[in-house]
């Protein structure tokens, strides 16, 4: 009996134990980061964690053009008796010289207020008073060097008094802030975005946005990997990043023909937060890729080992020559080389983060706008479009638009290995097999507005073999755009064209078409 008793008790405890230490969700590092030699790799990871943090402890790096969400406020009352304070009364919304009389001001002048929002875990930065200037309070001591890591523990709004309420902090502020000190609470969009991302996106797109969540392996096409900073459907130039509006549009409308569903009914703030979070993830991914790319060439494990070998030989020679004081060892050579990498890293990081910042800055994005309005959808226009189609598109999309052009039988070269793919067909930049769109089904992944199709033709589709055709149809830009519209008109017509013909010719050829009338998207 005792044995049974003990057994059950042990089992019960065993069942409880894993429950006590829930695992943290983590970012997955790029495979190339893992291929770096260990010390350099961990330096890169450290850098990355310092600049972007983890899903649980995210860093709002203000250099990045991400709207992390800011609430401005000021201290209105501090408990005088307490020699120290974790909490004090604050007021939101009326900060500095801004007037907050109109809530409906949309130009960003009106400072938003948190309302009932849960502010726990957000960062607080002091803008005036003793603590201003990015100083941080660490265990009650002021430390002018480091950046602010003070965090909010809770915020409770007064029922009667608008945007006033009690703000509690996780750390002690000693001495407490003075009445009238202004501060900013930063990161609610990042925090909210992370929570929404975890609920809606993570299981497909992965915690780090690598498109390799647990569900991903079952999906065709695979979920997007944001890390290279490439987005297929955008309104901007191919070399630009997508605008917030583009990302929103994809999230709202979904991508027809794929498993990306439409999240139309997300609230505006939810949508905004998700978009900001996705941008942030994409920046983190691209930042990592760029850092590694710069280091990979020299510090990949195999290369590095070879380099150490040869440097050791040279070092020994030098030692014999007398140009070197100490006899080098493998260890010391390694350290020397890694020291170089570590010395380089801050500069590389600085450089790449600035490149990234510029890339994602709105001013550096050019939205593609046709120079002429859409040509009326007439038979003549479609006929002109047909000619262009046959010349330019049929190679991939096929003469009848079924996505069965000659290209699907050709072999592509893998950019990574510089070798042909083992299978014929087209591959995208992520190394996944893709097919030219079957235009007869009337499904347009990037949107079905004329402007969407125009942009797809004009700028191509990022990351795929679909090339841009801007300026190709005519050297005159306006004429070129008009020709593009002809082509778009024709593309719209393809589903109805194939149906209009007797099903016989194409159906027998492709077997399965009888029923594939252009299904309703």
């Amino acid at each position: 009996m005792r044995v049974l008793q003990l057994l059950i008790l042990t089992l019960a405890f065993a069942a409880c134990l894993p429950g006590c230490d829930p695992p943290e969700s983590t970012f997955v590092y790029n495979t190339k980061t893992e291929e770096l030699t260990r010390d350099v790799g961990s330096a890169v990871k450290e850098r990355l964690d310092g600049d972007f943090g983890s899903p649980k402890n995210s860093v709002a790096w203000l250099r990045m053009p991400v709207d992390y969400g800011t609430f401005k406020g000021e201290v209105v009352e501090v408990d005088e008796d307490a020699s120290s304070a974790y909490q004090f009364r604050v007021k939101f919304g009326s900060n500095g010289d801004e007037e907050t009389d109109g809530e409906d001001e949309e130009d960003g002048q009106a400072s938003p207020t948190p309302g009932e929002m849960n502010l726990a875990g957000l960062a607080i930065i002091w803008k005036s008073g003793d603590y201003a200037g990015g100083s941080q309070i660490d265990g009650g001591k002021r430390d002018g060097e480091k950046l602010a890591t003070l965090q909010v523990a809770a915020w409770s709004k007064d029922e009667e008094n608008g945007e006033e309420g009690l703000l509690s902090l996780r750390q002690l502020m000693d001495p407490p802030p003075a009445v009238g000190d202004t501060f900013e609470i930063v990161g609610h969009k990042l925090s909210f975005g992370r929570q929404l991302y975890a609920a809606h996106c993570q299981h497909c797109h992965g915690t780090s946005g690598d498109g390799a969540g647990p569900t991903a392996e079952y999906l065709n096409p695979r979920p997007r990997d944001y890390r290279p900073g490439k987005f297929k459907f955008q309104s901007t130039l191919k070399t630009n990043r997508p605008t917030d509006g583009d990302l929103q549009r994809i999230i709202k409308k979904g991508i027809p023909g794929t498993y990306m569903p439409s999240f139309l009914l997300l609230e505006d703030d939810e949508m905004d937060s998700i978009v900001q979070y996705v941008k942030w993830l994409s920046m983190r991914g691209e930042y990592e890729i760029k850092l590694v790319t710069q280091l990979y060439f020299d510090y990949e494990k195999v290369v590095f080992d070879e380099a150490v070998e040869s440097a050791l030989e040279d070092g020994l020679e030098e030692f014999e020559d007398g140009t070197r004081d100490e006899k080098p060892t493998k260890r010391s050579i390694q350290d020397e080389l890694i020291e170089t990498a570590n010395a380089d890293l801050p500069d590389i990081a600085e450089q790449e983060s600035n490149v990234l910042k510029d890339a994602w800055t709105k001013e550096n994005m050019t939205v593609v706008v046709p120079l002429v309005a859409r040509t009326p959808d007439t038979a003549e226009s479609r006929a002109r479009g047909r000619v262009l189609y046959v010349q330019n598109c049929a190679a991939c999309h096929g003469a009848t638009g079924r996505g069965d052009g000659e290209q699907v039988n050709a072999y592509m070269v893998n950019d990574q290995t510089r070798e042909k793919y083992p299978e014929p067909g087209l591959f995208d930049d992520w190394g996944q097999s893709i097919k030219p769109r079957n235009l007869t089904r009337g499904i347009y992944r990037g949107g079905r507005r004329p402007i969407d199709l125009f942009r797809r033709v004009f700028e191509g589709i990022n990351g795929t073999p679909m090339p841009p055709f801007k300026g190709k149809f005519d050297n005159d830009k306006k004429i070129n755009d008009a020709r593009t519209w002809d082509l778009v008109n024709y593309i719209y017509h393809i589903p109805f064209e194939s149906r209009g013909k007797s099903a016989g010719d194409s159906a027998t050829k492709h077997g399965r078409t009888a029923a594939s009338t252009p299904s309703t998207r």
Partner: protein
């Protein structure tokens, strides 16, 4: 019946409840946020102040003050003779697309491995990763017209070293549409479709650590390599495998020697020591044939197309 047995399961039940509730329970997934300012404070976390020069493109180096310049020249040859020649990429008249233009009169050769009769390896990139201190910047800027032509569905030239900021004219001399597409690791990609005799301008904005592949999405076999550098110390070997890099400042240089058929560079730190002004270092660089065929082999990722069936 002993009473103690009755209490055992109660205890277990209570423990289980306590265990699960105490831990998993309402565990929230609200992240904590830390702010990192846009500009790092006066002294960043690392105590090493960057002193290495030539980090950012466009920084003009001070003119050389000491030493002088030497030359590094030599040949890249295949060790132990040649390798078997690569089969043609596209046989005459057998092009998957546009057979009227591509390989219409002759096979399209595989230019990825060009070996001369005496074993010289062409199209090898020999370059310095970073500009050396005291280097000359003026070199290589003589007004040569850089042209990337597409003729008979072949990129011409196949390999090219280019200075950042220097425009390359891309051109389509064929009667069928082409496009020119680059996917550099660091800089801006380029992608332009061209009709016959249309031209475009390809400019690299950043130096790259490895040569950039150039492709045409219409004709998947078309491929070229271009290496943008922000300094003049990079060349490609000629048809006989020879190359010459002049104006190397005195000192030790570590050259990268790279060929497209090798996954990694052939040599990542090929040391060249210029001892004094006017010094000419001559090297015959031997490359094992095996290194040139290992591309792709093991590293090719097989893409799973179907899901389960």
């Amino acid at each position: 019946m002993k009473h103690v047995k009755v209490y055992l399961p109660i205890a277990v039940a209570a423990l289980l409840l306590a265990g699960v509730s105490g831990c998993g329970g309402g565990a929230t997934d609200v992240p904590t946020i830390t702010v990192k300012p846009a500009e790092e404070a006066a002294s960043p976390s690392t105590d090493v102040t960057p002193t290495n020069g030539a980090k950012t493109p466009g920084v003009v180096e001070p003119p050389p003050t000491t030493g002088g310049f030497g030359t590094f020249m030599g040949r890249v040859v295949i060790k132990g003779g040649g390798v078997e020649s690569r089969p043609a990429l596209v046989l005459k008249g057998k092009a998957a697309l546009d057979p009227a233009v591509c390989a219409a009169t002759a096979d399209i050769p595989d230019q990825s491995l060009l070996v001369s009769a005496d074993g010289g390896l062409a199209n090898v990139f020999v370059f310095l990763k970073k500009a050396p201190k005291n280097g000359k910047d003026s070199l290589g800027t003589e007004a040569e017209v850089l042209l990337l032509d597409q003729q008979g569905c072949i990129f011409e030239p196949h390999a090219m070293v280019v200075r950042t900021g220097t425009p390359i004219t891309v051109k389509n001399s064929d009667s069928k549409p082409h496009n020119v597409k680059t996917k550099p690791a660091l800089g801006q990609p380029y992608d332009k479709s061209l009709n016959q005799n249309q031209t475009g301008e390809l400019v690299y904005d950043r130096p790259e650590p490895v040569p950039v592949g150039v492709e045409c999405n219409f004709h998947t076999w078309m491929r070229a390599y271009q290496l943008p550098l922000d300094h003049p110390y990079g060349v490609i070997t000629k048809a006989d495998g020879s190359f010459e890099i002049p104006n190397l400042p005195v000192g030790t240089h570590q050259f990268v020697i790279w060929h497209e058929r090798s996954t990694r560079s052939l040599f990542s730190r090929f040391k060249v020591k210029i001892k004094s002004d006017g010094d000419v270092v001559k090297e015959t660089i031997e490359v094992e044939a095996a290194k040139l065929t290992d591309v792709g082999g093991a590293k090719t990722k097989t893409i799973k197309l179907s899901l389960n069936r």
